[in-house]
Symmetry: C2
Subunit: 229 residues, 2 copies
């Protein structure tokens, strides 16, 4: 039968083991073979670095997912970014990390000594430019996210989030969420109940289908984009 490929083939989630050669090359690391790269795997909810710690390494996610967040003294949490496969994080201009980074699920990272990167930047303008560009890309994301947190409604926030994840990690049209509703809520400045209700409403409206709470398939990206404002 021709439709055997349509049968529920267990799609490997984006954050699982990458295919050989996947996410292997980063422009930053390939130019400078003298940079010592080490790898490490963190278990679920394990801290990679804490807010205020000296920034000794810069990281790249090889497998898994990471949340970067800050806490208010009463425990409220704001996740500033999710770091997904191929993302570089922990790059600081100052000497210390300004957000805590935690593995969301089992996560393998590559690490490069920050000092060695800086040394490479001093002798290679292209590397210096890449460091600047990476920070500028983070800034762009933060600017987008300020608009979301300051002015978007709950539905607009969730729609924006789903489109962001669709763009970044969808595999054959399906988004496999590595994070909980609580993580999503703390990223979007909402409560987990509001996130859950909003996803349910989107499902009822037919803009997405769910196969389990962590597997979302966007059915109408155009409508979702219109809702995201």
């Amino acid at each position: 039968m021709l439709n055997q490929s349509l049968a529920a083939a267990p799609v490997r989630p984006h954050w699982g083991q990458p295919a050989p050669g996947d996410a292997e090359e980063s422009p930053l690391l390939s130019r400078h073979p003298e940079l010592v790269v080490t790898e490490f795997t963190y278990g679920r909810d394990k801290c990679i670095f804490g807010e205020g710690e000296i920034a000794e390494y810069v990281y790249q996610v090889m497998r898994g997912a990471v949340r970067s967040y800050r806490l208010l003294n009463d425990g409220r949490r704001q996740i500033g970014a999710f770091r997904l496969v191929r993302d570089v994080f922990g790059l600081e201009s100052g000497s210390s990390h300004r957000l805590t980074a935690e593995a969301i699920c089992e996560t393998k990272v590559r690490m490069v000594k920050r000092r060695s990167l800086e040394a490479a930047a001093k002798s290679d303008v292209v590397v210096a430019c890449q460091l600047w560009t990476m920070t500028a890309n983070e800034l762009r994301h933060a600017e987008d996210h300020m608009l979301l947190l300051g002015r978007k409604t709950a539905a607009q926030r969730v729609a924006t989030f789903l489109l962001e994840l669709d763009r970044r990690i969808s595999v054959s049209g399906e988004v496999a969420l590595p994070m909980t509703r609580c993580d999503i809520a703390d990223y979007l400045g909402l409560t987990l109940e509001t996130v859950s209700r909003t996803v349910t409403q989107f499902h009822e409206k037919g803009v997405l289908t769910l196969s389990g709470p962590r597997h979302i398939r966007l059915r109408d990206r155009a409508r979702l984009a219109a809702m995201a404002a």
Copy 2:
């Protein structure tokens, strides 16, 4: 009488004409005399550059104040930053501006061609590093502001804002606000009514005194700081 200095001496606001030599030197501009610097003065509410425009110049506020913002399609506005005297803004890693910049009041800026800055950065690692550091400082502010917008209460937001302005522009203990309540609200993700009510409550609690709505004197910074976090 000895108290003549206590009489309402008309304190020059921070954003007025700077004293001779004030804000004259920036590390970026002084190192490279070949950089051509021009000046321009924008009237109140005049646009300096729009979102999406090609980033031809980098700016420094010499006098006045600027708001950088983005709009949602329905007109809701999120101000990402206020640019005050000595602040550099409009520096982009990509080719175009990502936020609109408008003069809040009559504002004098210095402008440097972005291309000439980049040329200087290519030959001078220190300049390249400064560009990176400036972007990283913007990122730090954005990270702080995401926590505020996502998780702080109205009172915490206003307290944070007042302390930020106190640190940046207070003159002999008084903050002279160049911006309206509406600007403040759009910076803090609130409405102008909520900002007004909150300032009134702070006044009633005695943490600040007002001499006109645009002149605030912080009476109890410690309490305000406790409220901010």
